[in-house]
């Protein structure tokens, strides 16, 4: 499960550096714990992002310990970095409709080809409900933070389910309209 896309990784690292100065390794650990889900950050991506942030003047190296390797560098957020982070945090994201058009496509194509869209929707509902039940079970033993992420998934699956029920209720009229 990946909840943060590549573009937001840099803001996640900025946010973690706003909390405290850190080494690259610390950043990766903190990121994975909080946002990584089942897909932890690769070290390469951490250091690539850090050097980019540094080049843009949003973070700075505040100490280099003896030894070799990027891990020896300690990073800190700059004033410019704080401003950029604040701007990003306050900025609403474009709503991203869950473009699961495949559900819609299957309904339409089933109707067009004279197959049962209702049976497909029933099967899809079953799979969605199973996923919700598993997530609900997982949430009951999850930390508050993990639980909140599971809630996010539950609400989105529920939105799909509402659409499935809505579509199921309109199949007859939809079929008539398509065949005109």
């Amino acid at each position: 499960m990946r909840i943060v896309d590549d573009m937001t990784v840099s803001y996640a690292l900025l946010g973690l550096l706003h909390e405290a100065d850190r080494h690259g390794y610390d950043l990766k650990q903190s990121y994975d714990r909080m946002f990584g889900g089942t897909r932890p950050l690769r070290f390469g991506q951490v250091y690539r992002t850090l050097s980019q942030l540094q080049r843009d003047g949003l973070i700075a190296i505040v100490g280099v310990e003896a030894g070799a390797g990027p891990d020896r560098k300690r990073y800190s957020i700059t004033a410019e970095g704080v401003t950029d982070l604040e701007r990003w945090l306050a900025e609403p994201e474009e709503p991203q409709p869950q473009l699961q058009t495949v559900l819609f496509q299957k309904v339409m194509l089933a109707l067009l080809s004279g197959r049962s869209a209702g049976e497909y929707l029933d099967a899809q509902r079953g799979v969605h409900l199973t996923a919700m039940r598993e997530l609900t079970t997982a949430r009951r033993t999850a930390s508050l933070q993990d639980g909140l992420l599971i809630d996010y998934q539950l609400f989105h699956i529920e939105a799909d389910l509402r659409w499935i029920d809505h579509a199921a209720g309109r199949l007859d009229t939809l079929a008539a309209e398509i065949q005109l």
Binding site: R125, G126, L129, M132, R133, T136, L154, F155, E158, L161
Partner: protein
């Protein structure tokens, strides 16, 4: 699920209200200790189904068996008796008596079965503590939150040690956070006491707490039940 015969069985249930066919041949069973969610759109017949299974309504045809005994043919008095002792009920609204403090509301089912007032109130007080309502026992229903009201309703449903809890949209009037709290409590207490539950809801998030879900549409079960743990 276990190999034993189901605890509660509905077979070929039909029920009409005037020209409206609410149930058109429903078969459904509940194992002991199982939590079953009955979903479906408004007017699908899911509440009618709950009322038939709980012995509140008599089906026009078909039969309801509880613990091996037909209950749809029992005389009213025996059915009321059964509902008081073997079943517990949680509804969406208006289930607490507004003039009675919360603790007395919870004690009501015990009082109705003839328990001494002192014993009933002590048991109610235990349930209040158990459900985290220890300090609101003396308040009136109008003075507590929706979530607290539903928790009190759960306590009242469980106080007689029922085998089956019937819940009709138990979180219908709550926001999602309070709904989650109420559902966790309902499931935890049902599992802890070994009670099964029939949970009528149109909300997938609520149904997801159940071991199994079925959907009622146009008075029939619309899909085969998905069994917990089946792959």
């Amino acid at each position: 699920m276990n190999e034993q015969a189901p605890l509660l069985i509905g077979r070929g249930l039909h029920k009409s209200f005037g020209p409206t066919l609410a149930l058109r041949g429903v078969d459904l069973s509940l194992a002991a200790g199982e939590v079953l969610a009955v979903m479906g759109p408004s007017g699908s017949g899911k509440s009618t189904l709950l009322h038939c299974l709980a012995g509140i309504l008599t089906p026009d045809s078909g039969e309801v068996t509880f613990a091996g005994r037909r209950i749809d043919q029992l005389p009213d008095r025996q059915r009321s008796q059964l509902r008081r002792t073997a079943f517990g009920f949680v509804f969406q609204f208006g289930q607490l008596v507004p003039e009675l403090p919360v603790v007395e509301n919870i004690a009501l089912p015990l009082l109705l079965t003839g328990k001494k007032r002192r014993v009933a109130l002590a048991a109610a007080q235990d349930w209040l503590q158990r459900l985290g309502l220890g300090d609101i026992g003396q308040r009136l229903p109008g003075e507590i939150s929706g979530g607290q009201m539903q928790r009190a309703a759960i306590a009242r449903a469980l106080i007689c040690g029922p085998s089956v809890i019937f819940a009709d949209e138990p979180t219908g009037s709550l926001d999602s956070v309070a709904a989650d709290e109420v559902m966790e409590l309902l499931i935890d207490t049902a599992k802890a006491t070994g009670a099964g539950a029939v949970l009528v809801t149109h909300e997938p998030r609520v149904a997801a707490y159940a071991d199994r879900q079925v959907t009622v549409r146009d008075g029939r079960i619309a899909q085969p039940a998905t069994v917990l743990g089946a792959s």
